[in-house]
C-alpha cells in the first residue's frame, strides 16, 4: 500500500460497526501483527501485571481492527498508530482522560543541567548489588509515575523515540515532552537514590 492510501473495502454491518473485507483483513494482519512484540513490551511496562498487559494488548488490537478502515499508512508506519491506541487504552483503563499538557515554562533549564547527578554517586559495580532487585525497584519507580510521565519515559527509553516522535504520538508540544521526561527522570532518580541509600550502596555523598 502506498503512503497515505486508505484501506479498501470497509463496510458497515447491521449494528453500524465497521467490517473489514477479506483483503483489508489480510492487510491488517500484515501491517499490525508484526508489531505485536513491541506493543506487548510497552503494555508490559505500562500495565501493573501480566494480566493487565494482556488486556491492554487485546483491547489495543481490537480497537485497531475496528479503526483500520480509517487508518492511513503514513511515513512512520503502523507502529506509532498502534502505540497511540495503546496509550488511549491505557488511559481508559486508568479511568482518566489525558491531562492538559504541562507548560514548558514549568521547568527551568538551569535545573536540567544537574539532572540525575546523583547517579554518579552510586557505585553500580558493587558486587553485593542484586540486579534483579534493582531492576524491580526501577520498574516499581516507573510504575508509580503519573500515566503521562510513564508513557513519555517508556516511549523514550524502550521504543527509542525522539522527543518529536513522542510529541506527535502523545499529541502534545515538544516542550511538554521535555517537561514530562524531566519530571519522570527526576522522580525515578529520587526513588533509586532512596533505594541505594537504604542499602548503603553509597555514603553521604548524596547530600
Amino acid at each position: 500500500m502506498l503512503n497515505g492510501e486508505k484501506n479498501p473495502s470497509t463496510t458497515v454491518d447491521r449494528a453500524g460497526a465497521p467490517c473489514l473485507s477479506p483483503v483489508a483483513r489480510a492487510r491488517f494482519e500484515a501491517v499490525a501483527l508484526p508489531h505485536l512484540d513491541s506493543i506487548y513490551r510497552m503494555a508490559r511496562a505500562l500495565g501493573s501485571d501480566a494480566v493487565e498487559a494482556d488486556d491492554l494488548v487485546q483491547e489495543t488490537y481490537a480497537r485497531a481492527y475496528r479503526g483500520f478502515g480509517r487508518f492511513e499508512l503514513r511515513e512512520y508506519g503502523a507502529k506509532p498508530w498502534l502505540l497511540r491506541i495503546l496509550q488511549n487504552v491505557f488511559y481508559t483503563f486508568k479511568g482518566r482522560q489525558r491531562r492538559e499538557p504541562v507548560l514548558l515554562e514549568d521547568v527551568d533549564f538551569d535545573h536540567f543541567v544537574d539532572e540525575l547527578s546523583w547517579a554518579e554517586k552510586i557505585p553500580i559495580s558493587v558486587g553485593s548489588l542484586n540486579w534483579d532487585h534493582f531492576d524491580e525497584e526501577l520498574k516499581s519507580a516507573v510504575g508509580r509515575l503519573q500515566p503521562e510521565y510513564r508513557i513519555a519515559l517508556l516511549l523514550w527509553s524502550i521504543e527509542g523515540l525522539s522527543y518529536r516522535e513522542i510529541a506527535e504520538l502523545c499529541e502534545c508540544a515538544l516542550g511538554t515532552v521535555m517537561s514530562r521526561l524531566y519530571r519522570a527522570r527526576r522522580t525515578v532518580g529520587r526513588h533509586l537514590r532512596e533505594y541505594a541509600r537504604e542499602r548503603k550502596l553509597s555514603t553521604a555523598r548524596f547530600d
Partner: protein
C-alpha cells in the same frame, strides 16, 4: 551557549534527534563542561538501563493466539463500536 541552552541540545542528542542542534557548538561546550557532559552520559545511561530492564518482554504464545483469533472472530461479525483511537 550557556549550560541551560546546551541542556536543551543535550536532550536532543540523548534522543538521537540531531535536527536543529548546532552540533559543533554543543560538542565544544561539552568538551569543556563536565556538568553538561556528565548529564548527557547519565541520560544515555538511563535510557539504556530502562531499555534493558523492559526490553526482553516477548508476547506469550497464549496472547499471540488470542490476538490472532480476535481478528478471526471479528471477520464479518458484529463489532463493538466503541471509540477506536
Amino acid at each position: 551557549m550557556n549550560c541551560a541552552e546546551v541542556a536543551r541540545c543535550v536532550d536532543a542528542l540523548a534522543s538521537e534527534q540531531h535536527g536543529g542542534v548546532d552540533i559543533p557548538v554543543v560538542l565544544e561546550h561539552l568538551s569543556g563542561c563536565s556538568r553538561c557532559a556528565g548529564r548527557l552520559a547519565r541520560l544515555t545511561s538511563l535510557r539504556e538501563v530502562l531499555a534493558r530492564v523492559y526490553g526482553d518482554a516477548r508476547t506469550p504464545s497464549h496472547l499471540r493466539d488470542r490476538v490472532q483469533s480476535l481478528v478471526e472472530e471479528q471477520k464479518g461479525g458484529v463489532l463493538d463500536s466503541r471509540e477506536v483511537s
